[in-house]
C-alpha cells in the first residue's frame, strides 16, 4: 500500500495475493483483505467480480488458459481447447482452472495457452494429452516450447495443409464443403437464391425444435 498515494490502489495486488493463499477470492479471503485495507468486503467483491483473473468461485488454485480469440481462432484454437478439455476429463485433472481465454497477446505462436503464466505454443490437438498430464504431475509443460525458454523460436512452416482443409471443412462461400456438394450451393456471386420463401424475422416457426414437433 505504501507504493501508492492512495491505499485503494492496492486492491488488485492485494486480492491477487489473497487468491494465491486461498486459491480463490473466498468470502474469508475477502474479509481478510478488507480488514487489512480498511475497506468494506462489498467493495472488494464488486472489484473481484469485474476481473477475469480473480476467481469468485473455487475453480482450482492453478490455471490453464487456452486462447481462442480471433488470431488463434483462425488457427483452429477451438479444436485444441476441446481436445484439452476432453483430456482433462479423461485424466481426471483436479484443482486446475481450465478455460477459454481472450487474447493473451501471443498471436505469433497461435494457437497457444498460458499455464500459470507460462506461454506455450504453437499447439496442435496432439499436444493436449501431454499438456494435461504434465499439469497433473506438476512437470514443466512442453519444455522448450514456452515463450521464456532459451532458444525458443516459432517454426516458420505453414501448419495448415494446402487444399481444402479436412476439418472443420469450410466452404469459402460459407457453410461446409460437404454442404456445397450435398446441397449444391451456388457460387457467392449474385443475389442469394432462397430455397424457400423468406420468413418473417419474428415468425415463431423459425425456432421450432425437433422436440416440439414431436407427436406424443
Amino acid at each position: 500500500m505504501s507504493l501508492y498515494p492512495d491505499r485503494h490502489s492496492a486492491t488488485l495486488p492485494a486480492l491477487g495475493a489473497a487468491q494465491k493463499v486461498h486459491g480463490w477470492c473466498s468470502p474469508e479471503a475477502i474479509r481478510q483483505v478488507a480488514a487489512v485495507m480498511q475497506v468494506t468486503p462489498a467493495y472488494l467483491s464488486s472489484v473481484a467480480t469485474f476481473y477475469d483473473m480473480l476467481r469468485t468461485e473455487p475453480r482450482g488454485s492453478r490455471y490453464v488458459y487456452v486462447c481462442t480469440s480471433v488470431a488463434c481462432h483462425l488457427r483452429d484454437a477451438r479444436r485444441v481447447y476441446e481436445e484439452i478439455e476432453r483430456e482433462a476429463v479423461d485424466q481426471q485433472l483436479e484443482d486446475v482452472e481450465l478455460r477459454e481465454f481472450e487474447c493473451l497477446g501471443a498471436c505469433d505462436m497461435a494457437p497457444m495457452a498460458s499455464v500459470d503464466g507460462r506461454y506455450v505454443g504453437p499447439l496442435t490437438t496432439a499436444d493436449a494429452a501431454e499438456i494435461v498430464s504434465a499439469v497433473k504431475d506438476g512437470r514443466e509443460v512442453l519444455p522448450g516450447r514456452g515463450l521464456p525458454d532459451l532458444g525458443f523460436s516459432i517454426p516458420p512452416t505453414p501448419r495448415q495443409a494446402p487444399g481444402p482443409p479436412e476439418e472443420p471443412d469450410v466452404h469459402p462461400a460459407g457453410g461446409t464443403w460437404k454442404d456445397s456438394e450435398v446441397l449444391d450451393v451456388p457460387p457467392a456471386e449474385g443475389p442469394p437464391p432462397h430455397a424457400r420463401e423468406p420468413l418473417h424475422p419474428l415468425d415463431p416457426g423459425t425456432s421450432v425444435t425437433p422436440e416440439e414437433e414431436e407427436p406424443e
Binding site: 498515494p5 492512495d6 485503494h8 490502489s9 488488485l12 495486488p13 472489484v47 469485474f50 476481473y51 477475469d52 483473473m53 480469440s69 480471433v70 488470431a71 481462432h73 483462425l74 488457427r75 481465454f101 481472450e102 487474447c103 493473451l104 497477446g105 501471443a106 498471436c107 505469433d108 505462436m109 497461435a110 498460458s114 503464466g117 507460462r118 506461454y119 521464456p148 516459432i154 516458420p156 505453414p158 501448419r159 495448415q160 494446402p162 481444402p164 482443409p165 469450410v170 466452404h171 469459402p172 462461400a173 460459407g174 454442404d179 456445397s180 450435398v182 446441397l183 450451393v185 442469394p192 430455397a195 423468406p198 418473417h200 424475422p201 423459425t206 425437433p210 422436440e211 414431436e214 407427436p215
Partner: protein, 442 residues
C-alpha cells in the same frame, strides 16, 4: 524487403534485459542527456516536433498530449499503458520482455516532459513473465540512481511502480486504466475532463502506450529532425507491426511507416499458406474494420488506412485467408467484445449482446435475410454513442465485414438453413431424442 530496426535494434543481444548490457549498448544516455543537458521544455519541444504519434491505437501526437499537462507545482503522474489486450497485438510484450530498460528510460523521459514525479506501468496480469522482468529492470534502475530522488544528481524526482492488472480488456482504455489503477472496477469515465487535466487521483496524468514511450529515448538521442525524416507525411518514424493469423511467418516486424501493406503481409510475413489466397485483413488489431485485396498496395500510414475506411490502430495485422468462413469469425469477434463490455453504456452492452445472438442465429440456420439489415443497423447505433470506443471496436469490423462480404453472409445463412432443414428431417441427437423422433419426422 527489410525491416527498419530502431526499437528492435539490439533485440537479439543476449542479456539485454540486464542493466549492464543495456548501458554498454548506449542505454540511459538519452535519459542522462534529457536530465542534465536539456530543460524540460526542450524535451517536450523535441518530442512534439518529432511528430511521434501514439502507438496504442488512437494515433494522437504524443508531444501535444504531454503539452496539455498543466504547468506548475503539483502531483502529476505518468501512466504507461502496458495492458495490451487487443486481439492480434503482441508488440509490447516483445518490447517488455526483451528490452525492459528501454521502457524504463522512456518513462523517465516522458516524466521529464510532463513534469511528473510518480509513474506507473500498468501491465496486464496475463504477462507474468514480462511483469517480473520489468520489476527487475525497475529495481536495477533504482540501484543505479536512474529512478528515485534527485536522479543522477539533478533535482528531478521520479518514482516508478509496476502495477499488474487482473485481466480486463477495458483497462486498456485510458480512463478505464485509471480507474483500475485506483483500485476500482475498470469502467471508463466521461471525457472531458481529459486525463491530462484530471486523471489519476484527480491529478494531471500523461498516459502513453509502451511503444510510444520506447520511441522517446531514440528521439532524444538522434534528434527530432532525424526522426521526422523517417516515415511518410504525418506518420513519422517506425512502427512495430504484429502479423498473425493465416500467414506463413507470424511475428513482430519493425517497418518504416509508409511501406506498402503488401510488403508487410507477403514480403515479411510470407503471405497466406501455400495454395491459399488472402481474403481480408485487419490492419490494426481486431477493432479495425477489415480491408480486402484491393487495399494491399496502400502505404501503411495512419492517413492511408483512415482514408480506406479503416485505421492503423495498434498496427496488428491479422490476415484471414480464403479457407475461413466469415460468420464464425465475426461471431468470435463479437463474443469477445460482449464478454469484455463493462456494461456501463447501454448501446455497447446491449448492442454487443444482440450482435452475438443474431450471428449465432445466422450460423445455426435460424437467420433470415432481414437479420443482416438489422445487424447493420445495430452496428450503426453503437458507433459513436458510448463513453469509450469498446462498442465501436466491435461494430466497425462487423459492419465492414458485412459491407465487403455481404454475399458471403447471405450464402452462409442459406447453407446453414438448408443444413438445419436436413437435420430437422434426420434428427441431430437421435440418441437423446430416442427412436421416436426419427419415426415422427419421417
Amino acid at each position: 524487403m527489410n525491416e527498419t530496426r530502431l526499437l528492435l535494434r539490439n533485440v537479439d543481444e543476449p542479456g539485454l534485459n540486464t542493466i549492464e548490457v543495456y548501458e554498454r549498448l548506449g542505454g540511459y544516455r538519452s535519459a542522462r542527456k534529457a536530465l542534465l543537458e536539456m530543460t524540460p521544455e526542450a524535451v517536450l519541444e523535441e518530442l512534439e516536433s518529432s511528430g511521434l504519434r501514439g502507438r496504442g491505437g488512437a494515433g494522437f501526437s504524443m508531444g501535444k498530449k504531454a503539452s496539455f499537462i498543466p504547468k506548475g507545482t503539483m502531483d502529476k503522474y505518468l501512466c504507461c499503458n502496458a495492458d495490451e489486450s487487443e486481439p492480434g497485438a503482441f508488440k509490447d510484450r516483445l518490447l517488455m520482455q526483451k528490452n525492459p530498460h528501454l521502457l524504463v528510460e522512456g518513462c523517465i523521459i516522458g516524466a521529464i516532459a510532463a513534469g511528473a514525479n510518480k509513474g506507473f506501468i500498468f501491465i496486464r496480469g496475463e504477462y507474468e513473465t514480462q511483469a517480473d522482468l520489468l520489476d527487475a529492470a525497475v529495481g536495477e534502475a533504482y540501484e543505479r540512481g536512474y529512478l528515485g530522488e534527485n536522479i543522477l544528481g539533478s533535482d528531478t524526482t521520479f518514482e516508478l511502480v509496476v502495477h499488474r492488472g487482473k485481466g480486463a480488456y477495458i483497462c486498456g482504455e485510458e480512463t478505464g486504466l485509471l480507474d483500475a489503477l485506483e483500485g476500482k472496477r475498470g469502467n471508463p469515465r466521461l471525457k472531458p475532463p481529459f486525463p491530462a487535466n484530471q486523471g489519476l487521483y484527480q491529478g494531471p496524468t500523461l498516459i502513453n502506450n509502451v511503444e510510444t514511450l520506447c520511441n522517446a529515448p531514440i528521439i532524444i538521442e538522434k534528434g527530432a529532425e532525424w526522426y521526422r525524416g523517417l516515415g511518410e507525411g504525418n506518420s513519422t518514424g517506425t512502427k512495430l507491426v504484429s502479423v498473425s493469423g493465416n500467414v506463413q511467418r507470424p511475428g513482430n516486424y519493425e517497418i518504416e511507416l509508409g511501406v506498402p501493406v503488401r510488403d508487410i503481409i507477403y514480403g515479411l510475413a510470407g503471405g497466406p499458406p501455400e495454395g491459399r489466397e488472402l481474403k481480408c485483413f485487419f490492419p490494426g488489431g481486431s477493432s479495425a474494420p477489415v480491408l480486402t485485396q484491393e487495399h494491399l498496395d496502400l502505404p501503411f500510414t495512419y492517413e492511408a488506412m483512415a482514408e480506406a475506411g479503416s485505421m492503423l490502430g495498434t498496427a496488428s495485422v491479422i490476415v484471414v485467408d480464403d479457407s475461413q468462413p466469415l460468420v464464425p469469425l465475426a461471431l468470435r469477434l463479437a463474443e469477445f467484445y460482449r464478454h469484455e463490455s463493462c456494461g456501463k453504456c447501454v448501446p455497447c452492452r446491449e448492442g454487443t449482446n444482440w450482435t452475438v445472438k443474431m450471428l449465432e442465429r445466422i450460423d445455426e440456420g435460424e437467420g433470415t435475410p432481414m437479420d443482416l439489415d438489422i445487424l447493420e443497423q445495430v452496428q450503426g447505433n453503437i458507433i459513436g454513442n458510448c463513453l469509450c470506443v469498446l462498442g465501436d471496436s466491435m461494430a466497425m469490423p462487423v459492419a465492414s465485414m458485412l459491407k465487403h462480404f455481404r454475399p458471403e453472409f447471405e450464402q452462409h445463412m442459406e447453407a446453414a438453413r438448408q443444413r438445419r432443414d436436413l437435420v430437422g428431417l434426420q434428427p441431430m441427437g437421435a440418441g437423446e431424442l430416442g427412436g421416436v423422433a426419427g419415426a415422427g419426422a419421417a
